[in-house]
Subunit: 260 residues, 2 copies
Amino acid sequence: MLISSRANARIKHLRRLRTRRGREESDLFLAEGLRLARDAVECGAEIVSLVIAPALLDEEAAQEVASLRQSADAEVLEVTPEVLETLTPQGVGEGVVLAARRRWRRLEEVAPSDRSLWVAAHRVEHPGTLGTILRTLDAVGGEGLIVLDDSADPHDPVAVRASLGAVFTRQLVRARWPEFAEWKRRTGCHLVGAAPSAGADYRQAAYPRPLVILLGSERGGLSEEQTALCDQVVAIPMRGRVDSLHLSVAAGLLLYQAAG
Amino acid sequence: MLISSRANARIKHLRRLRTRRGREESDLFLAEGLRLARDAVECGAEIVSLVIAPALLDEEAAQEVASLRQSADAEVLEVTPEVLETLTPQGVGEGVVLAARRRWRRLEEVAPSDRSLWVAAHRVEHPGTLGTILRTLDAVGGEGLIVLDDSADPHDPVAVRASLGAVFTRQLVRARWPEFAEWKRRTGCHLVGAAPSAGADYRQAAYPRPLVILLGSERGGLSEEQTALCDQVVAIPMRGRVDSLHLSVAAGLLLYQAAG
């Protein structure tokens, strides 16, 4: 039975996952496109709903969707392209959207290994930036992302898309700052903070593992309290007029430097 | 006289600068916020119109705007916040928008010096990515951006905002590919292309000046013809599941590596 009404109750429920409140209420999030669907299955994500617009699938995509339906023990909803579009307004039009269980871990469950590399992001505003950092974390083999206090949500559709699937391959943790500070002291992780103006050149610093790279918000950077918790604060040289890099570029430089 | 109608002819004309066609027709582009206005003045941009919403300015901002009005020999339009908002729908609400002459240079006028560092971007789709690359170019002291074939427009409001003012500090060039290839051969610039899978590790490569870093589109990367023109093709190691970095992160890594 093809769902052609945007007012369909299941579709309305899924559409609410585009909002943070909807995700909090149901503990689900949306991922769009065949590529992310494949990543979700192969990474063992708990897929709850699979929404398919058969009219948008070519033969190859239809075959892949058929195998997705088999691997994912999920509710399947077949919809018109118009209905699918209400789930992904900026969508890539690949004809598939899924809803999966969110992947939050609790910080207290995280026991960093001798090789661990994490990013902790404090009050980062843009979900796309978190997604891009996840993508880079995947590329350097980092463990995952610790989202502190009132940051954007890495399960936001913009973050999921920007992560290119890394939202499924990396670990996601959220915590309040005091809890993070306590965890850092208890586990003995090496904490490197990034500040545009102060600190040693990031290329001269040591990055012993287990390592957490701490990034402040796009506007405010790190607070004094946060800087004080760091074992080292590093700076990326700025030779021009602009006083900071885009946070995802800064994260990329630090992660590749640390990954060696 | 405060303009309170969105249908005002001058405002309508300026609103068209949000579109590529509008910018092509009038050779102007928009920049928003006090910070960019300051950058525009200090970098000697030709400011044609200054649109101000006095109701949005606090005392300090009002003083700065007064000094902007003196430095810029521009038409000044005072408008209501509602009218200003039609020029910057995702605006930062700082109460100032300006229209400046675009800053395209022709490639044939560009004579690379012994220290030149450029980025050439081929068919990059996202204006935000071009803006972020400009921001990083400013940070490493690079010359500017060469936009090839049908790339996004670095004068797009999204690019201007992402550049954090670097759109005024860096040079902007546009060219077709054959013209660029001819220029590269004639000037003897060293051309380094980035490809996710092939090529030497970017950290092992040489970056002699004058240098141009060539970036392909987000989806397609570099073509064979483009790779063939490169003196060296470098790769950024990818250890995870994702097969490429965000283009602005890749550009950041290569620019900082090349800048040394």
